[in-house]
């Protein structure tokens, strides 16, 4: 036996023995050969694979083209955001929440702000609540457009990407116009919004909402009747309702498995109870069902945006809580009291009564929950994010085993994975 053979013999495949150490490349050990034809091999997919939407690594055990076992390996984007939160004032955490899920920053802002407002027991003015709903639905559209473009591109339909990013650009322009940032908006504050929306904000949203239904028709023209797209998506990546619940799946994949659950309707927050919309559900449980559910969700989001524009109440955009909310610029220049509050909030933060809360919102990917613990000081004692993709990733093996490698790509696309949110 040559030296080369020896290195690759099974005895030497394991990493050096360090207590508590498992080399991840040997997570899946190939089974001993059973005859010359019947054997499996281990394939490493990612972290640089384009269809993993970031840095997901999947270790596959394959028998020919068929997946026998699948182990996701995550943590490549771990930046310790939860630890960083403990060293910041409550208001300084808001920009960190954007960076968890970079496709739906406003949803994260909202979940965090709602959690802290619940701790403080603040009343948020109606106009701020409705603005939050409007911007959250735009964020959902933004996220679903990115999903649709990249999902179709994974399948091989490259054209759709150019179409969806054309409309996404319009949404990002609106975000830039209202908050000054295209992606990391940080527009929500504890107690309301950062700024009044600019004067032509509503007219530009109105123009966008008007064209969106026909644009969604356009995407459907490209995809829904396309035989290749149907062939790649139908009857692929099954997930039953019981499995989905047991594995913690939320959002569109849960609804595509036939579970009628949407936090916006079932546990409403930020005055979602005042909006009328349908929750699309499908009983098929395959990749196609997730595609259909998300497309119908986009149409419902457009409806919610329309209602928010039509019924947008007048009034203040910040809560009346001088010890929490920064004062108006003009007041700060003319009133001593406002200047003192401003100075104190910026330099010392504000104290939050001790307690713990869990606030969940329906993000484009599922249930985004923030668990905040306060010990009565100006910095959070603990902030934990419950992320939808993190849980949904556990269902990947159930959906992929027994299918081809090409189906793994379709399934990863269909759960709309965002690695920033998984790794935090």
């Amino acid at each position: 036996m040559s030296e080369f053979d020896n290195q690759h013999s099974p005895e030497n495949q394991h990493a050096p023995e360090i207590p508590g150490f498992t080399e991840t490349s040997t997570l899946v050990v190939p089974r001993p050969e059973e005859g010359s034809k019947d054997h499996t091999m281990v394939l490493n997919m990612g972290p640089q694979h384009p269809s993993t939407h970031g840095v997901l690594r999947v270790v596959l055990e394959i028998d020919g083209e068929t997946v026998v076992k699948l182990v996701p390996d995550i943590g490549y984007l771990h930046t310790g955001i939860e630890k960083t939160c403990e060293a910041k004032f409550y208001q300084q955490v808001v920009p960190l929440t954007d960076r968890i899920d970079y496709l739906c920053p406003m949803t994260n802002n909202l979940a965090y702000c709602l959690a802290i407002e619940k701790l403080l027991q603040l009343e948020i003015p109606e106009r701020a609540q409705w603005m939050r709903v409007l911007l959250n639905e735009l964020t959902r559209l933004n996220s679903h457009l990115v999903w649709l473009g990249t999902h179709a591109m994974d399948i091989g339909a490259l054209t759709v990407f150019l179409y969806t990013f054309r409309e996404r650009e319009e949404i990002l322009r609106i975000f830039e116009h209202v908050s000054g940032q295209r992606m990391m908006t940080s527009y929500f504050r504890i107690g309301g919004l950062a700024l009044d929306p600019p004067l032509d904000f509503f007219s530009s949203v109105r123009a966008l909402v008007k064209i969106l239904p026909e644009k969604i028709d356009e995407y459907e023209n490209l995809l829904t009747g396309n035989p290749i797209f149907i062939g790649r998506l139908k009857n692929v990546g099954f997930l039953t309702a019981n499995d989905a619940i047991a594995l913690g799946v939320t959002g569109p994949p849960l609804r595509a498995s036939g579970v009628d659950w949407d936090l916006r309707r079932d546990m409403p927050y930020s005055s979602y109870e005042k909006f009328r919309f349908e929750v699309p559900v499908s009983n098929d449980g395959d990749v196609w069902a997730r595609y259909i559910v998300r497309l119908r969700e986009m149409r419902e989001s457009v409806k919610i945006c329309q209602q928010a524009l039509d019924g947008m109440p007048e009034g203040p955009i910040k809560a009346d809580a001088p010890h929490v909310v920064l004062p108006e610029r003009e007041k700060m220049k003319t009133q001593m009291e406002a200047l003192i509050y401003h100075f104190k909030i910026v330099t010392e933060g504000f104290q939050v009564p001790a307690g713990e809360v869990y606030q969940a919102v329906e993000s484009p990917r599922g249930e985004m929950g923030y668990y905040a613990v306060s010990d009565g000081t100006a910095k959070p004692y603990r902030v934990h994010m419950r992320n939808p993709s993190f849980a949904t990733l556990q269902a990947l093996e159930t959906m992929c085993v027994g299918r081809l490698i090409a189906d793994v790509v379709a399934v990863i696309g269909s759960i709309d994975i965002v690695l920033g949110e998984i790794d935090r």
């Binding site: 508590g20 150490f21 771990h78 630890k83 913690g248 659950w261 713990e356 869990y358 419950r386 790794d423």
Partner: protein
């Protein structure tokens, strides 16, 4: 917002109709060591050695969806680690939070993966970042950090920046 009920007796009286409390008290009379209802959220402190049984009871009582497992480090207080479970009932549209308190020396408690497979990643995350072991977990490995990492960064005695 409903009024806060801050001790066990008040919660048992004020929320006598709550399905979670009824089921737990019937099946495990001594499991709930403390209870709190604050900001419309129910928190039950469960004896750490009964956590798996309590979760199974809740699951059969209709609380069918495990949302989250995480941990809070109350260093230097003892018991130091507060493992927190958020459990949701899709049918009752109700959420209950369970706490299990774990000592700082050799922190460990029963895994609830046999009850909810979704606890797998969450418990690995708690092990990785807090160093709390879960007995009976199918593969308790680090999930966020590299395997050779020393220490558990979300513990309060682990610095936010600089060297240790």
């Amino acid at each position: 917002m409903a009024e806060a009920l801050l001790n066990t007796q008040a919660v048992f009286e004020g929320l006598a109709q709550n399905v979670a409390i009824q089921a737990l008290r019937a099946a495990h009379p001594d499991a709930i060591t403390n209870a709190k209802f604050d900001r419309n959220e129910l928190t039950l402190v469960i004896a750490a050695d009964q956590i798996r049984a309590a979760c199974r009871t809740l699951q059969t009582a209709g609380y069918n969806f495990l949302e989250d497992v995480t941990c809070v480090d109350w260093y230097p207080a003892e018991p130091r680690f507060q493992v927190t479970y958020h459990i949701l009932s899709l049918k009752l549209k109700d959420r209950v939070r369970l706490h299990a308190m774990v000592q700082s020396i050799d922190p460990s408690l029963d895994s609830i993966v046999p009850v909810w497979p979704s606890a797998n990643f969450y418990e690995r995350e708690v092990w990785d970042l807090f160093g709390v072991r879960f007995n009976g977990h199918p593969s308790l490995r680090r999930i966020m950090l590299p395997e050779e990492w020393e220490g558990h960064p979300l513990r309060k005695d682990y610095p936010v920046e600089g060297y240790r």
